[in-house]
């Protein structure tokens, strides 16, 4: 998410990740403004977990994220398209082998 040039007195932007339950990964759920990390955690609790949506929260400054450029989508991800042999279903195995 973009971080507008904050020359102002605006609090920095943080990205919020919530683990919905023990055993699952933290998942991005949104962003918020906070003065520091501790406050960002408190805010994230109020904004994103009012209904027990989480058991753990991560916050990190949005400015710390390096994202791939949508323009590079083809260069980055296209090469995997013709490598169908990376999927198990590519290989035909006789039925009598059973589950493999």
């Amino acid at each position: 998410m973009s971080n507008p040039q904050s020359t102002s007195k605006e609090w920095p932007l943080w990205e919020v990740f919530v683990r919905s339950k023990q055993g699952l990964e933290h998942k991005h759920c949104g962003s918020l403004h906070a003065a520091d990390a501790q406050q960002a955690l408190h805010m994230a609790r109020d904004v994103y977990t009012r209904r027990q949506e989480g058991v753990s929260i991560w916050v990190l400054p949005s400015a710390a994220i390096t994202a791939s450029d949508p323009e590079d989508k083809d260069t980055l991800f296209e090469p995997a398209r013709d490598k169908v042999y990376r999927h198990p279903t590519f290989f035909v195995i006789p039925d009598d082998v059973g589950h493999m």
Partner: protein, 344 residues
């Protein structure tokens, strides 16, 4: 809750910037990007923040999402008014939770708008200086406790009708915010309806309060869906872009059809002599909405416009020192930590 499903032009439009003249190569690149964008929209795909998008698409979204966010925040005021006067501890706890949700919805939406390159400060400045609109429904007063129930039942009910199609909006962050909002919204409508049911099991005076509140809010709720399709020229473009999924009149009809049986269960009448089932259409017919009153309110002359805005501005101004102090504290701590690291 609470979008007004159309996007009113915000006041004091800035002078149109002169479009930069593109050279042939730049023009080619832009045309290619436009073709790609159109293909995604045609395939009902999603646009994400860093993707190329036409300037007009970006501007429309910023305006609509920020108006929606402002509506959530201003929407806290009419109900917040009743927190200290709720009839029981249970109702008070429910109302606090609901008003807090509205604040949360505003925050999800401001974040979504910020992904388009506008800043929170810019949006708040626009609201506080009257340049940005918010849903006109909040410029009416909440006169008695039944108003709180009716806001939940009808105003939130209308908002849900509006917002469910927005979950499929072509702009990813807006659609995701709406999914979250809609999940929470259902509680708002049900708590309102249930509060009214409780009153309808009470004294004749309580019945009268409910009926009075319904009479005052019904037409305003119908107007929330925006002008008739024939008078909404921007809707077509919004539909084309997958920002708007259903027309104002279709949504309004859906709302009327859903609400009539609910009113029957509740035991109240809806204040429209022309409201009746039309067998042929398979829908309810309803009377004329007073659009002059609606526009007067949108344009700043409703009963509570000035009070709502003044309350918002005061809250923001009164909080100024808190925001500054938190930032100063964070900067001081960061400096101390850096010094400690250096010393170590």
């Amino acid at each position: 809750m609470y979008t007004q499903s159309f996007n009113v032009p915000d006041g004091a439009a800035p002078a149109k910037p002169v479009a930069a003249v593109l050279n042939a190569t730049q023009q080619q690149v832009q045309d290619a990007a436009q073709i790609k964008f159109d293909a995604i929209i045609d395939a009902d795909g999603k646009i994400e923040p860093k993707d190329w998008m036409p300037e007009a698409y970006r501007k429309t979204l910023v305006r609509q999402i920020s108006q929606h966010a402002h509506s959530e925040i201003v929407g806290m005021l009419p109900e917040g008014n009743w927190i200290s006067r709720a009839p029981s501890l249970k109702r008070k706890a429910i109302l606090i939770a609901k008003v807090q949700d509205e604040g949360g919805h505003g925050l999800y939406l401001y974040s979504a708008a910020e992904t388009l390159g506008t800043s929170r400060d810019q949006m708040l400045d626009a609201l506080h200086s009257c340049k940005a609109k918010y849903s006109s429904i909040f410029n009416y007063p909440t006169l008695n406790w039944a108003d709180v129930g009716v806001i939940g039942w009808l105003v939130d009910g209308a908002a849900i009708m509006n917002q469910i199609p927005l979950c499929r909006c072509s702009y990813g962050p807006y659609a995701r915010a709406m999914v979250r909002v809609c999940k929470e919204e259902s509680f708002h409508q049900r708590q309102g309806f249930e509060a009214l049911l409780a009153m309808m099991q009470g004294t004749p005076a309580q019945h009268a309060m409910v009926q009075d509140a319904v009479n005052r809010w019904w037409w305003k709720c119908l107007a929330m869906f925006g002008p008739p399709d024939a008078d909404s020229p921007n809707s077509v473009q919004g539909m084309r872009w997958g920002i708007k999924r259903m027309s104002n009149d279709d949504l309004r009809q859906k709302f009327v059809d859903a609400t009539v049986p609910q009113a029957k269960v509740l035991g109240v009448t809806l204040p429209d002599p022309d409201l009746k089932w039309n067998e042929e259409r398979g829908h309810h017919d309803y009377g004329q909405i007073d659009w002059d009153e609606f526009w007067a309110t949108v344009n700043g002359n409703g009963p509570c416009n000035k009070e709502r805005l003044a309350t918002r501005v005061k809250a923001h101004t009164d909080g100024e020192w808190v925001r500054a102090a938190a930032l100063a504290f964070a900067q001081k701590k960061a400096k101390q930590q850096a010094a400690q690291k250096e010393a170590a």
